[in-house]
Amino acid sequence: MRLLIKGGRVVDPASGRDALGDVFVADGRIAQPVGTPDRTLDARGLVVAPGFIDLAARLREPGYEYKATLESEMEAAVAGGVTSLACPPDTDPPLDEPGLVDMLRRRAKALSRARVYPVGALTVKLAGKQLTEMAELTESGCVAFSQANVALADTQVLWRALQYAATFGFPVWLRAEDAWLARGGVAHDGEVATRLGLAGIPAFAETIALAQLLELVRATGARVHVCRISSAAGVAMLRRAKHDGLPLTCDVGIHHLHLSEMDLGYFDSHCRLEPPLRSRRDREALAAALADGTIDCAVSDHTPVDEDQKLLPFGEAEPGATGLELLLPLALKWGMEMKLTLAQTLARITSGPARILGVASGRIEPGAPGDLVLFDPDAAWRATSAALKSQGKNTPFLGMELAGRVRATVVDGHVVHEA
């Protein structure tokens, strides 16, 4: 199979290339043009970029098929231009056994859509007591280990888990949130929670847990990726830690780059997210830190929730937002706000996460995997229930007009989505 993508604006964040040209894909890899293509995509007027890499997308299988299925969410991924995604282990049962991981990978592969990289549970049932068989899980395809949104309250177990992971060089992806301080909270502990009478999660629930985590990284040398940082104070700590040479990486949820506690309005349950949307100052710090490299990449934190679970009072509503199909428009919006070039903007959802995942995709050069996206950065579309392929229609941007529409997605040299 030879594919020619012709006449597009080729943007490769890894090399900084941004020029009109053609991209040729042969046998699943980007190659120098040879012979006649089996298929040609006309990319005139479109941007051709490496397929997006999303380090946090919940596919809801196994266990939560009523919220979403692998079929629906893999369609959503490629409709959003996402060609590789890592899925957190908070399924039911959690991804804590090789058999489950194996089945998920095989089911995903059979659908021939995006590449799926499972993140294994760090502890059995995510319960924070017993380590999982990380070596076995790695063999079955886990790329890292995580607690998803379940905080590991016992610092002794956390210490041992990081020691054990460090022994074998397994990456550990963790959110920083103190379980006790976050207990019962549903919104950022600030002005809006006070006004609306919502139980708060203070920003220091993040910084206290982060301080613990940083000390444990110093002590164990574990390769830790900090997930969904949410506060200005947390960003400042990470900046210092990176400056001190700690081997850390970090991501931020795409919604947190644009929204703050103010967007809760009159109890909009679509804005019930984990971690909570914090103050405007926090939002600005996150947007700036992603631009200056303190934060390495943006993730969709895709969490399909069925409508009934959002049609509840704010504090009872299930947290999370659908995100796979909003990743591109929200990244573009952020890049405009920060006055970045398109290559700089796209780096946060291509080459940046590729480095963390340790994969060869996320760039356009001969030999790299043939994972590409063709999009129109200016095309406006409305984020309606009907427009979203994901089974989760839960987004704070529902009904709003966004710019940036994916026209075609290529995985392993095959066109898997066209619009």
């Binding site: 502990d189 600030g190 002005e191 929670a193 006070t194 006004r195 609306l196 009478g197 919502l198 139980a199 708060g200 203070p202 103010m262 309005g265 009159y266 109890f267 349950s269 009934d308 049609l311 509840l312 009072p313 704010f314 504090g315 009872e316």
Partner: protein
């Protein structure tokens, strides 16, 4: 910020969900209407036909006797039919969702839903899903708001103090968990009270309380100084000893209202409490039953205020 969901296209009161965001004119209009109903409640025949033929559904997802009863009396004095539903014990126990419960009752031709719910914001959710001719009155949601209580507190203050300008109002106790405090604070600041104080230990004052337009005091003695109005909040039993407070006794010593502490306020200060009181915890009996106390008149005014609110949302004026 989306449009205020309580007002209709003409800026009139469609629902009463929160005092926050209501313009001064509407608050004054409610208080004035309540005043006119005080006369009705003092007559031999305590009924006016303003809501004749209308149905008021008291929908209490959280237990309450006092508030439910005052709504019931208010509705009956307006000649409405009242249906009391103790939902906490029925539908929700069977797993029915809040909106399903409301949809079912709506099918029985309701005009007003009086909603109390343990979760902040629940009445907003209900208001977003009712039919255009149906009205929602918040009878207390989580820690968020209790607007009719706030209005009756405002009514009581206006009754005894005549004007809001120049007043010092001190709200004392568990502000963190208090929907009464939140509603009253918004009402007082909207009506131009120059100094609203909240008094309590750090554990019971919410984060960023000053953003509500109040001065925060941790010393009761400093906070009560020269106050015209002292509002004591109820301290829930389950919060009296634990991580928030060591004991009811210690709370009483520092933040309970005694005659001796009350002497720091102005000589003509009034003392209010939303009830039910914990005597000997947040308020001593000598104060609760003393000459400064207006706690029982508050209850009486509460009926007129609720009549005013119901007639304004559903009575076409």
């Amino acid at each position: 910020m989306p449009r205020n969901p309580q007002l209709n296209g003409n800026g009139e009161l469609q629902h009463l969900l929160s005092i926050e965001g209501l313009p001064r004119e509407i608050l004054v209009k409610i208080l004035d209407a309540a005043e006119s109903f005080v006369g009705v409640t003092e007559r031999d025949i305590k009924k006016v036909p303003l809501l004749r033929g209308k149905s008021v559904f008291n929908l209490f997802f959280e237990g309450s006797t006092r508030t439910r009863t005052t709504f019931e009396i208010a509705a009956k004095r307006l000649s409405a039919d009242v249906i009391n539903l103790n939902v906490a014990a029925s539908s929700t126990a069977k797993g029915e969702s809040l909106l399903d419960t409301v949809a079912n009752l709506s099918a029985m031709q309701a005009d007003i839903f009086v909603v109390r719910h343990g979760s902040s914001g629940a009445p907003f959710l209900v208001a977003r899903h009712v039919k255009p001719h149906e009205h929602v009155i918040n009878a207390g949601d989580g820690r968020h708001a209790h607007p009719t209580q706030g209005l009756l507190d405002l009514y009581t203050i206006r009754h005894y103090k005549k004007e809001f300008g120049g007043l010092v109002v001190a709200i004392v106790g568990d502000v963190l968990h208090s929907r009464v405090a939140r509603s009253l604070i918004h009402g007082l600041t909207t009506l131009g009270v120059p100094e609203v104080r909240v008094i309590g230990p750090q554990t019971l004052i919410p984060a960023g309380a000053s953003a509500l337009g109040v001065r925060v005091f941790h010393s009761m003695r400093e906070g009560l100084k020269d106050a015209d109005v002292v509002v004591m909040l109820r301290l829930q039993n389950e919060r009296m000893s634990g991580a928030l407070l060591p004991s009811a006794q210690e709370f009483n010593k520092h933040y309970g209202l005694s005659l001796e502490k009350l002497a720091l306020a102005r000589p003509d200060a009034i003392v209010m409490h939303p009830g039910p009181m914990n005597r000997g915890v947040e308020i001593d009996s000598s104060v609760a039953d003393g000459p400064h106390s207006v706690i029982l008149p508050q209850v009486t005014f509460g009926i007129s205020v609720r009549m005013a609110v119901m007639s304004m949302v559903a009575g076409g004026g």
